[in-house]
Amino acid sequence: MYQYDEQDHKLIRERVAQFRGQTERYLAGELSEEQFLPLRLQNGLYIQRLAPMLRIAVPYGLLNSTQVRRLAHITRKYDKGYAHFTTRQNVQLNWPNLEDVPDILAELAEVEMHAVQTSGNCIRNTTTDQFAGVARDELVDPRPYCELIRQWSTFHPEFAFLPRKFKIAVCGAKEDRAAIRAHDIGLQIVKNTQGETGFQVFVGGGLGRTPIIGVAIRDFLPEVHLLSYLEAIVRVYNQLGRRDNKFKARIKILVKALGAEAFARLVETEWEQIRDGADELPPEAIAWSKRFFPQPAYKSFSDSHGEAVLRDQAGSDKAFSRWLERNTFPHRVPGYQAVTLSTKPTGIPPGDVTDRQLEAIADLADEFSFGEVRVTHEQNVVLADVEQERLYELWQAARKHGFATPNIGTLTDMICCPGGDYCSLANAKSIPVAEAIQRRFDDLDYLYDLGDLHLNISGCMNACGHHHIGHIGILGVDKKGEEFYQIQLGGSANEKAALGTVLGPSFSRDEMPDTIGKILDVFVENRQPEELFIDTYNRIGLQPFKERVYAKAS
């Protein structure tokens, strides 16, 4: 992974010092609440319903075991002993004291971490595929480009006060596991007919109260121009994005208002002026960034040996077999597999881990996966490089620490925002709904029979739980002070991205498990052999689901 040099260390130390000064001025009454707000947000600090919340940056989701151990230490020393993995591949602390935040940042800086631009109206953490570098369907490893984007966007002097937040995601594989079409800018790595690397550029995607799937404004951007093109897009947005209404300030509204073609023309015109300037990415710069993401010291295995071992183990242990099927992912190197540690056993808020669990993750990474860990946008944790021969051993260890729930990609592996239990924006609680559904559908055979099924829950229309792009999406709504839940069907986050359609009137929390049950019944009754929920939905449409769910009791 990327390693700081003296310049990175200096910049982050200077940032800590700056924020320490700002916090002191705020506490001394020299900075007003209004003035302190964007400063603290750009340092990841929210003031939430119950306490401040600190969002720590994990660039493109990559952590080493030292950093994970430091996070464990920080949650113990400054918080209540747990942390939360977010859909932006970041980590949140829910109970720090405002006065301690400069010290937390100083501790993070020692292990090459920070909370820069994890919130506020600026360019946020760039996200990517959690299987970057190991996936078999990958064209090019996106991480070196993510790192260059991180450097370009960090403390960007022109773009620290944009009309609204700004999110970039990069995908280097055929299957989009980074939801790039749901981002302000989505970058799909492609090769042209000459075999040169470039990017298909999507713009104007995003969720929230006006969900929109991003549109491609350029089919092939040569890699040499990556940063100048990003600069052109954000510059057009900074000048023309609306600032009069925060709900209409995202770039998606600008792109929609202008039309994608007109917006693309403005970007191209701006880009023509800067494309050959300082932001060009010469091959040596890309090669330099690639050096930070070398292939680890893989052992050499024959193609079939590890798989034969696994077949034997899986044959004699059903539970292991289940875990193997759901929680591991094929690896491009023979003899290896990627493992997803599930943070979603029933009864635990999705993405929450304790300090002890963080330490266990660090130990497992050291023991089994070259000391590296990835955070997924589905709020789980990935060990990307595990020897097949050692998967059984890893599974047993993961079980001990509560990470082996074999539910990855199934109904109970849901994305869920913190909701009304923590978030001051939320209209409704989301964690109890997630838990009720997990409890109701805890029969693994049934879950496996349903197959891949993404259920996403948000506690308000800001859509942190990505409900629009869940196959089943749940949105908490407030009706005269009471919490209700609206269901959407048919959303999708991958390369066939789509927004869900609202099923109909909303339900009380108690009704939710039964209602989800009815939806699943319609799926099971109508599916063709092996068909996935989303495919059945796309074939039969909303109506059959609607009829069943809203049928009058006879």
């Binding site: 910049l11 900074n238 009069d244």
Partner: protein, 186 residues
């Protein structure tokens, strides 16, 4: 085309007696004229000395004011982009950019474009409600003068010009992004 909002009436930039110029506290030599629909500014009634005109006024009067070229500056409101001055920027002694709110980041882009695209070499002045915590960003975007809205001890603010001593990306102050400096060295 979405029309960005205009600065609210009343939130006009002021004329503080002192400012930060080129890293030191200095006396303000220029008189910024706010936008005022009631009193029409003409070449004939324009006060003597160094004045900073609203863009709309300057666009009308600039030819008539050729003989006072060295004492006529222009200020851009937050909804006015740098291309409205364009290459004429290279002839101007001073351009000011207005921050009605410190969270309105349009003037950062205006600064960079004036310096890097339109050849502006004069005094680039931030006016209005920007804050000290933005001084390094402003400097990096080409601003060298800071007229804080309310009088405050400016000496205390000078340190904020040095919050950061290095940067990742290229801007007005740094021709090369860090990856070029590193890659070429490494």
């Amino acid at each position: 085309m979405p029309k960005p909002v205009k600065t609210p009436v009343g939130a006009q930039p002021e004329n503080p007696a002192h400012l930060i110029l080129d890293g030191a506290v200095a006396e303000n030599q220029w008189n910024l004229l706010p936008l005022d629909a009631e009193t029409e500014i003409t070449a004939a009634n324009l006060a003597p000395g160094k004045v900073i005109l609203p863009l709309s006024v300057w666009l009308v009067l600039r030819d008539e004011l050729q003989n006072r070229k060295n004492e006529i500056g222009v200020w851009l409101d937050s909804d006015e982009t740098a291309d409205l001055i364009g290459d004429d920027a290279s002839e101007l002694p001073l351009i000011a950019a207005h921050f009605p709110l410190f969270t309105d980041g349009r003037a950062f882009t205006a600064g960079r474009l004036l310096r890097q695209r339109y050849g502006f070499t004069g005094e680039l002045r931030a006016v209005g409600n920007f804050m000290r915590d933005q001084l390094t960003y402003l400097t990096r975007c080409g601003f060298n003068a800071f007229a804080f809205q309310s009088e405050q001890p400016l000496e205390n603010l000078l340190d904020s010009l040095r919050d950061f001593t290095d940067s990742y990306q290229s801007a007005v102050d740094q021709p090369l992004p860090i990856y070029r400096r590193r890659a070429l060295l490494g």
